[in-house]
């Protein structure tokens, strides 16, 4: 189903991933899907969640990178 090869910097932005993830959850919860569709959707959901996590971790890193200056004075 979705290609899972990991480029170093995902092209999907955080907002895009977030939007799609919300949609995936909505459809899964709505139900009425074939087994295959549910599995595929679930896999996509996991992938998107990882992507969101990636972006948030990066944000944390960048914040931390700026932090040391604060603790100076």
């Amino acid at each position: 189903m979705s290609n899972t090869e990991q480029t170093d910097e995902p092209t999907t932005t955080y907002e895009q991933a977030r939007e799609e993830l919300a949609d995936v959850v909505r459809r899964l919860e709505a139900g009425g899907l074939t087994l295959e569709e549910s599995l595929a959707l679930w896999e996509r959901g996991e992938e998107l969640a990882t992507l969101c996590q990636h972006w948030l971790d990066r944000a944390r890193e960048r914040l931390a990178a700026a932090a040391p200056a604060d603790d100076e004075d």
């Binding site: 919860e29 087994l35 679930w42 959901g45 969640a49 948030l56 944390r60 914040l63 700026a66």
Partner: protein, 407 residues
């Protein structure tokens, strides 16, 4: 008329003195304006001696007058006072000294002075020199500040000390000069030209402590006001007390109440700026951190949703269905098989019952014609016809031989 003088017929001193006195007398009576530089009364002598100085040019003239003239009630003659003098030129032949003989002295009142300043103000205002639109804004943190003030004056100290405390990086281009008396205006103008020409100077402060109207008069000098107006560099004035207003205050880009206030206006306060920056930085950081936290919470909530958290739930449902279906399927099949077996048994029983095998076992035989038809009546078969006989043990192929046919 005396004969013209010559080396051979020189005039005696008295003649020259008389002639000079004559010439001088021709001036006649004049009204003179000036500033009383010195005033000397010798005991109760009838004559009072004073020196009258020109308000702007650096020269003066001796004046004598009767004591009553100097002591006229309401005059309060004092050194430094601006006066109007009605006098005649007087040549004291005995010693050849010139002076003005005053017959009336009027103080140039404060009102007079202020009136004159007001006239100049209106003139310059009409030219638009005081228009707000001309006012230039001050640089935020000037590297070099030009300062025009009296040498080692309190004003100088206030500006320098306060400015350095607020913004240690500031440097000064000093121009110390007279800030009082006839030369003041010219000195300040020169300072302005010098500092304005200096490109590194980003703002010029003209500072002077408090003083009387006369003391501050140079700072309402038309020439000085025009010089300030002509400056490219912004000018801040801090002249006199808060309540004093001189014309330079009107033309300046910024009027500071005091020299210290001037320092506050020209340089930011470093501690304050640092706090400001730190505050902004902290706020920015807080905003971005809350934003990230918010998103992390959102992601957490999404991840804990059942559909994502335990997908096997999907399978469970289905697995149960499958399991149920399977059992039902199996049950149905089993029934069917059993049914089938029963049928088989019946069938077999019937077959067994109908089946000739048992009969054959009991010794009977079945005769069939070539086409399989059963022979039930000898008449059906012709002589020599080939027949097939089935007995319990197997099959015999025979031919009909009617030898002893009985009819």
């Amino acid at each position: 008329m005396t004969a013209p003088s010559s080396p051979e017929a020189p005039w005696p001193v008295r003649t020259v003195a008389r002639k000079v006195a004559e010439w001088i007398g021709r001036l006649g009576e004049v009204w003179v304006e000036g500033q009383v530089a010195q005033l000397s009364r010798r005991g109760n002598a009838a004559t009072v001696f004073l020196t009258l100085r020109d308000p702007v040019a650096d020269l003066s003239v001796p004046v004598t007058c009767h004591r009553d003239v100097a002591d006229r009630p309401g005059l309060e003659l004092s050194e430094g006072a601006r006066v109007l003098v009605r006098a005649r030129p007087d040549y004291y032949v005995a010693r050849g000294s010139f002076s003005l003989r005053a017959t009336e002295i009027r103080a140039v009142g404060l009102g007079e002075l202020l009136a004159r300043i007001e006239r100049i103000r209106q003139l310059l205002a009409a030219e638009g020199l005081f228009d707000v639109v001309r006012k230039r804004s001050l640089p935020f943190a000037p590297a070099v500040v030009g300062v025009i003030t009296g040498r080692d004056s309190a004003a100088e100290r206030d500006v320098l000390v306060t400015a350095r405390r607020r913004w240690p990086a500031v440097r000064f281009a000093m121009h110390n000069c007279a800030v009082q008396g006839p030369q003041a205006a010219a000195n300040v103008i020169e300072g302005l030209r010098k500092l304005d020409a200096d490109v590194s100077v980003e703002v010029i402060v003209v500072a002077r402590g408090g003083g009387s109207v006369e003391d501050l008069l140079p700072f309402s000098d038309e020439g000085l006001v025009r010089a300030i107006a002509a400056c490219r560099t912004p000018v801040v004035t801090a002249v006199g007390h808060e309540t004093d207003t001189t014309l330079v205050d009107h033309v300046a880009d910024v009027r500071a109440a005091t020299p210290t206030d001037a320092a506050h206006r020209i340089v930011p306060e470093i501690g304050e700026q640092r706090r400001l920056v730190e505050g902004l930085r902290a706020r920015a950081r807080h905003l971005i951190t809350t934003r990230v936290e918010q998103q992390e919470r959102w992601l957490e909530s999404v991840r804990t949703r059942p559909v994502l958290a335990n997908p096997e739930r999907l399978l469970h449902g289905r697995a149960d269905d499958v399991a149920q279906l399977r059992t039902r399927a199996r049950r149905t099949v089993v029934h069917r098989v059993e049914g089938a077996e029963r049928d088989l048994e019946h069938a077999r029983a019937r077959v067994a019952a109908l089946s000739p095998a048992a009969t054959l076992d009991r010794g009977y035989a079945v005769v069939q014609r070539a086409d399989g038809a059963l022979v039930r009546d000898p008449a059906e078969v012709a002589d020599g016809e080939r027949l097939r006989v089935r007995v319990s043990g197997g099959r015999l192929d025979v031919r009909v031989d009617r030898e002893d046919e009985e009819p």
